[in-house]
Structure formats: structure tokens, C-alpha cells
């Protein structure tokens, strides 16, 4: 969806984001409050992966906040920080502009969680993050 310089895209409501999430991922539990959407879901990025329970919290127009709940995220020997996470271990899935509040979380952010988990599992063994990305300091 090309973004026009002149036409401001309409932000998707929490109800719309919830509907789109439940349509694409019927097993997700999505609750919409007055100001916040809460999604609990399970993702298994490959058949040789664990099944991860995550929580996604979203308030318009902020960045969705994604935490992996279980199994607990681990570190490979010799590493002391996870890759591509914020200080509170929320996943850093994209840079500015990759997702906007007028775009569905279901078709952007959720697939990126799966992809993050797949590269995380490889990183535990190879000790290399092979999914690309930036590692700036002072993110967000």
C-alpha cells in the first residue's frame, strides 16, 4: 500500500487490529480494552522449533510491545545479552517505517515475531545473528 504525501492514512482501530489478528491466527487470544489491545499467542517458527508463548500489547499509535513469556529466552555460552531486544527484553522487530498504525499488526508484526524466534534459535547454536538488522545504541 503506497502512502500518499497528501492523503493521511486512517489509523486502524483496536477492534480492527483485533479482528485481523483473530482472522489470520485463530488460536490467538485477543482482548481489547478501552485504550489497549492485549494478544496472547503461540508461535512455532519451524518444525524443529519450540512453541513460544508471547504477549503483544498495543496502544494506538505506539509501537506494539512484544514479550516472549515461555519458554524463557536463553543465551549462548559467552553471550550476556539477547540480540535485537530493548532493555526490558521486548523484541526489536523493525525500524521506523517498517510498520505504522495504519497497517495490520497481523500481517506485519506477528510474522516478524516468528522470524525473530527462528533466528534466535539458530543464534543459540551458531552464535551469529543471521537475520540481518541494525544494532544501534539507545534504541527507542
Amino acid at each position: 500500500m503506497a502512502r500518499s504525501r497528501y492523503v493521511r492514512q486512517r489509523l486502524l482501530t483496536l477492534a480492527e487490529q483485533s479482528y485481523l489478528l483473530k482472522t489470520a491466527f485463530p488460536n490467538f487470544r485477543v482482548k481489547v480494552g478501552r485504550r489497549e489491545l492485549r494478544c496472547l499467542g503461540e508461535l512455532r517458527p519451524t518444525w524443529l522449533s519450540d512453541n513460544y508463548l508471547f504477549e503483544l500489547l498495543y496502544q494506538i499509535p505506539d509501537r506494539p510491545r512484544v514479550h516472549v513469556i515461555s519458554p524463557p529466552l536463553r543465551l549462548p555460552p559467552g553471550h550476556f545479552r539477547l540480540k535485537h531486544v530493548f532493555k526490558d527484553d521486548r523484541l526489536c522487530l523493525y525500524t521506523e517505517g517498517d510498520w505504522r498504525p495504519d497497517l495490520p499488526i497481523s500481517s506485519h508484526v506477528v510474522p516478524w515475531i516468528s522470524e525473530w524466534l527462528s533466528f534466535y534459535e539458530d543464534w543459540l547454536v551458531t552464535r551469529e545473528w543471521l537475520g540481518g538488522g541494525h544494532e544501534p545504541s539507545g534504541a527507542e
Partner: protein, 381 residues
């Protein structure tokens, strides 16, 4: 033939594990260039042994690969050069031949040759030719065993200063028959297992099981005492004996480990000091004779196999992320495969070819619940 690095999406844990194990075996396989060098080198050696100055020229010397090279079960060593085994077979019955004179004459002939002089050493049953690069050749001189018939041969053994029984060609035939209980073609881009027989490299499940069990052996006993490790022909024979035609390498390995543990238990119940195995193509060749005089090696084998069986069963039952367990069992090639796959996945995502299913499985775009759109992982160090 190179296989395009396409991302392939097997369905189910077992199929995904099989795909990973196949790729691990490709990593372990003799490379095409090493394979071709080995063929050229044993060809050159054969010519020398047929030449006018060769003491073997009247006995129609024939060099042929035996062991892992002939079986298509080569495994990269953890460190150091690969060893490739060849038989130098003379068309003469062993009776009337002094075994020590035979092996010494091969050794001395090569030591007199300008090319091989500095590369040749004498071993218990073979003459070793060490090349400067990545492998050495062990050449076993052999004479025919007319009494046993068929492809049975006798090979000199310096320890007993006499003959030993063997039948490498018969063993290869037996192994092939066992492995082709179910034939599963598999494209491999790295090597052709058997000379001039298969234009396209193909692997059978049993060959993969042997490769994996040998790799486990190399890793497991490197940390204990490599001298206690079971020899390759024992693992190969046990794998072939316990193979039941499974179409899946992971299932075949499960069967092998369960079967070997059962054979060990049966041997205990019979009151034997150790499991006994003979060459199925020549029962006079006792493959487990070294356990007669080395009970510590048998103890290490038994403990090792039971531990492998236990860990493998847990891995199969886990049905989840088994990367760490696979690295513990098979080592660095697993990490190398995971790295290649991750790079391919990343490339396919950049090309817009991937999506995720409703359960989060990364899959091809067709049939995905949502596409994997362009994005850049971000984050703090």
C-alpha cells in the same frame, strides 16, 4: 551437480529432522575434489604396481577401494586428514606366500620410489601413504583365499606375523543388499559415493545412519579415549544388521540404537564377555576380536551406545528445538547446516518468498496466513 539453495519446507517434526540430518551428512561427506584426487592417486599407484620394475607385475595387481569410500559412508574427521582404505589384491592364492614378505615387499618397493619414499610408512596390516594435503591412503596387500572361495582374501598381519581373513568385496555386496531393502534416492551435491556407478550422487538411508553413528563415535570418544572407540566396520555392521528398511533416517537411527542395545543385552544374557560380530561375507573374520583382549574398550562401547540411545530417544520425544542436542551428538556440522539454512531463509525473506502459517511456521508464500514483509531487525547491544 550443485543443488540450488532453495528453502524447502518439510511437514512435521520427523521430516524436518530428516532434512537436517541429510544436510549434516552432506557436510560430513568426502568432497568431490578430494574424492577425485583419491581416485587419481590410487590409479597412479596401480600403474606403478603394474610397471616393469614392480615385484607385483606378474600377479595382476588390482587396487580397489574398501571401507567407507567404497560404502559411501565417509565421515570428515574431527581433526587431521581423512584415511581412505584400499586393497592391493594379487591374483595369487595365499598358500605359498609369506605374509610378512608380501607386506614388506610392498613397503620397500614404495620406499625405493622417488615419489612415494618420504610418504610411506609400514602399519600393522597396511602400508600408509601420507599426502601433504587432506588424506592418506592405507593400502592392504592381499592374496586370494582359494579354500574359502568367492571374493574371500587373506591379508598379512604384522602383530600375529601371519594371515588374517577378510572379504571387502563380499562385505560391500552384503552392505548394498542391506541398504537397498528400501531405496531412497537423495541428491547430494558433494560427492559420488561409488566409482563410476552413479552419475548422480544418491544416498541410501543406511549409508546416512552409518555416517551419523561414525560421527557420534568420533566426537564421543575424542573426549574419553579415542583408543577405546568402536571401529568403523563394527558400527557399519551393527547398523546394517539392525536396519529394517525404514524410509526415514531418524527412524532408522532410532531402530539401530534400540537394536544394538538389545543385541548387547542378549549377549549379556548368554553370559558372553562381549558382543560377537563376524564379517557377514566371511565368517572367519572376527570383527570384534579386539574386545577379547580389551574389555575396557567393550565397556566404553556399551556405555557409549546406551548413552547415545538414551539421548537420541529424548531428542525424538522432545519434538521441539533440538539444535543443541544435535550439536552435542554430531558436532560442528550441525551448526554449519543451521547457518546455511538461516542464510537461505534470510535471502528468501528479502526476496519476498516467505510467509507464516496460522501456527507461526515460516513457510512458502503460497498458503501462508500472512506474508513475511520487508523489515529490519533493530535493537540495542
Amino acid at each position: 551437480m550443485a543443488v540450488a539453495p532453495a528453502v524447502y519446507f518439510p511437514q512435521g517434526f520427523a521430516a524436518a529432522l530428516d532434512q537436517l540430518l541429510l544436510q549434516v551428512c552432506e557436510e560430513l561427506q568426502l568432497s568431490t575434489s578430494t574424492y577425485e584426487r583419491a581416485v587419481a592417486r590410487y590409479g597412479a599407484l596401480n600403474k606403478l604396481l603394474e610397471s616393469a620394475e614392480s615385484p607385483f607385475r606378474y600377479f595382476r595387481p588390482d587396487i580397489y577401494p574398501q571401507g567407507s569410500m567404497a560404502l559411501g559412508t565417509t565421515v570428515a574427521p574431527i581433526k587431521g586428514p581423512r584415511d581412505l582404505d584400499f586393497v592391493l589384491q594379487l591374483s595369487r592364492d595365499h598358500s605359498g606366500v609369506d605374509p610378512m614378505a608380501l607386506i614388506r615387499s610392498l613397503y620397500e618397493f614404495l620406499r625405493q620410489n622417488g615419489t612415494y619414499r618420504s610418504m610411506t610408512t609400514l602399519k600393522n596390516r597396511c602400508v600408509r601413504i601420507e599426502y601433504a594435503d587432506d588424506f592418506y591412503m592405507d593400502v592392504l596387500p592381499a592374496c586370494l583365499n582359494g579354500a574359502a572361495g568367492g571374493t574371500c582374501i587373506k591379508v598379512p598381519d604384522c602383530t600375529v606375523r601371519g594371515w588374517r581373513d577378510s572379504n571387502p568385496k563380499g562385505y560391500i555386496d552384503w552392505f548394498k543388499k542391506r541398504s537397498r531393502m528400501i531405496f531412497v534416492g537423495r541428491m547430494l551435491d558433494k560427492a559420488a559415493p561409488i566409482p563410476d556407478q552413479e552419475a548422480v550422487a544418491e544416498k541410501e538411508i543406511l549409508q546416512l545412519v552409518v555416517q551419523l553413528s561414525k560421527r557420534w563415535r568420533d566426537l564421543c570418544y575424542a573426549n574419553i579415549d579415542p583408543g577405546l572407540a568402536p571401529i568403523s566396520i563394527v558400527l557399519t555392521t551393527l547398523a546394517a544388521e539392525t536396519y529394517r528398511g525404514e524410509r526415514s533416517v531418524s527412524q532408522a537411527l532410532t531402530s539401530m540404537l534400540g537394536g544394538v542395545v538389545e543385541l548387547i543385552d542378549q549377549s549379556h544374557r548368554r553370559g558372553e564377555r562381549h558382543l560377537h560380530l563376524c564379517n557377514p561375507s566371511n565368517v572367519a573374520e572376527d570383527l570384534t576380536e579386539r574386545w577379547d583382549s580389551n574389555p575396557a574398550a567393550y565397556g566404553a562401547f556399551e556405555r557409549g551406545i546406551r548413552d547415545f540411545h538414551c539421548r537420541w530417544s529424548q531428542l525424538i520425544a522432545r519434538q521441539g528445538n533440538v539444535n543443541t542436542e544435535l550439536v552435542e551428538l554430531f558436532g560442528e556440522p550441525v551448526a554449519a547446516v543451521l547457518k546455511k539454512r538461516a542464510e537461505q531463509r534470510h535471502g528468501a525473506r528479502i526476496d519476498g518468498k516467505l510467509g507464516v502459517s496460522s501456527s507461526g511456521l515460516i513457510t512458502s508464500l503460497a498458503g501462508a496466513a500472512a506474508p513475511l514483509r520487508p523489515h529490519t531487525f533493530y535493537g540495542e547491544e
